[in-house]
Amino acid sequence: MTLFAQVRQLVYKEIVLEWRSKYALNGILLYVVSTVFVCYQAFRSVEGVVWNALFWIILLFASINAISKSFVQESKGRQLYYYSIVSAQAIILSKIIYNVLLLLLLSLIAFFVYAVIFKNPLGDPLLYLLAVLMGSISFATVFTMISSISAKANNSGTLMAILSFPIIIPLLIVLIKLSKNAMDGLDRGVSLDEIMVLFAINAAVIAVSLLLFPYIWRD
């Protein structure tokens, strides 16, 4: 099988596995919706800056919870089986693609629930949506690699947070700036720099993941 076919099969496998149990998906959705409600009950109405920050914090923790399991849920034996039939690049690419899809769904639902319950005027909703989508893609690429590292350390809960927060902060700074521009309805040309930086970081992260993952996997 070519790499492309392997990746397609593996992504399909992940989606089928998830769809059969629906455990992670439902759990994460419930988590997001209940966090939004808690924030809404606690704050009632907030100004724009806090609204924006709160949304990203909710999304950040939801994504960490969603992705931290991605390498620990499979048994050692099954991982050995994958090792013998597919390449390491296919595994990490399929995990990244699956996590991107999962987080896109998650963040869209979170965004709509958040925007409906917690009303706040958005100057440029389309650009804000773009920021949300870029954010979920960035979270997925970074957290997938970190979760594979922390899964090797057998201590995924705390270690995952410790390892991923310093790495995600730069992305989060850019994302918050981009979404703030969108909230204020600034001209889209102003935000071009941020979008380019996000693309560059994502490309670099995916490239480095592809290079490094074979070393993690070979145990």
């Binding site: 590292i149 350390a153 270690l159 410790i162 970081i201 992260v205 480095v208 993941s209 490094l212």
Partner: protein, 222 residues
């Protein structure tokens, strides 16, 4: 003497930069006044820190291809020394900021970036402590180190340029070459960078020797 010359050179340059830095002439500038002398110590710290982190990532890459314990030791000790330089860079910067900007921690992107970068390397140290098995620890931490490095570069060199900063060379401020790094100052400033880099490598090599000795002692040898 053949092997030590660079250590002597490093020490001599740092000594020269201390003496020259405190006694030499500096331009009389508003706000900065005599505090401009901190530049001889503050900026070289960051250069030395970057060199140590660069060294660490190079040896992490070498570890992944060679699997030698020594490469891993160099990587971790470079990070340790880099963290020390980062700490001193932050302290000297805070002292300087307190005088010139009136606040030890103004909300400046470079300060925040430097703090976050040090968090990244502290996470590296924590990750090492979380892993017991030696080879696994070396490999996983090398992978994290390489993974974090490009993001640290973005953090330190790209993000501050996107926003306004109080530091020279950012957000429309002219760089050092633009105004005050003229005349006599650069004859002290430029060697000081090299001097502190050499001191950093010296520190790292001493720590490396200690670590290697400890490792050999704990190893149930023949």
């Amino acid at each position: 003497m053949k092997q030590y010359w660079w250590k002597v050179l490093g020490a001599a340059i740092v000594l020269y930069s201390i003496i020259g830095g405190f006694l030499g002439d500096v331009p009389a500038l508003p706000i900065l006044h005599e505090s401009i002398r901190v530049v001889y110590f503050h900026v070289p710290m960051w250069f030395a820190m970057l060199l140590m982190y660069l060294l660490s990532v190079v040896y992490s890459i070498r570890y992944l291809s060679s699997g030698k314990t020594r490469d891993d030791f160099i990587a971790v000790e470079s990070v340790n020394v880099g963290l020390i330089f980062c700490l001193f860079g932050l302290i000297s910067g805070m002292l300087w900021a307190n005088i010139t900007w009136g606040d030890p921690w103004p909300n400046d992107p470079k300060l925040n970036s430097a703090a976050i970068a040090s968090l990244m390397y502290l996470a590296y140290v924590v990750l090492r402590n979380a892993l017991d098995e030696e080879q696994k620890r070396a490999k996983i931490s090398a992978i994290y180190n390489i993974f974090a490095f490009p993001i640290m570069l973005v953090l330190l060199f790209i993000l501050p340029r996107l926003t306004d900063s109080l530091h020279p060379g950012n957000g429309g401020n002219p760089g050092f070459s633009g105004y005050d790094m003229s005349g006599e100052m650069k004859y002290i400033f430029r060697p000081a960078i090299v001097g502190w880099m050499l001191i950093g490598i010296w520190l790292m090599s001493i720590r490396l020797r200690i670590r290697t000795l400890e490792y050999q002692q704990n190893e149930p040898g023949p």
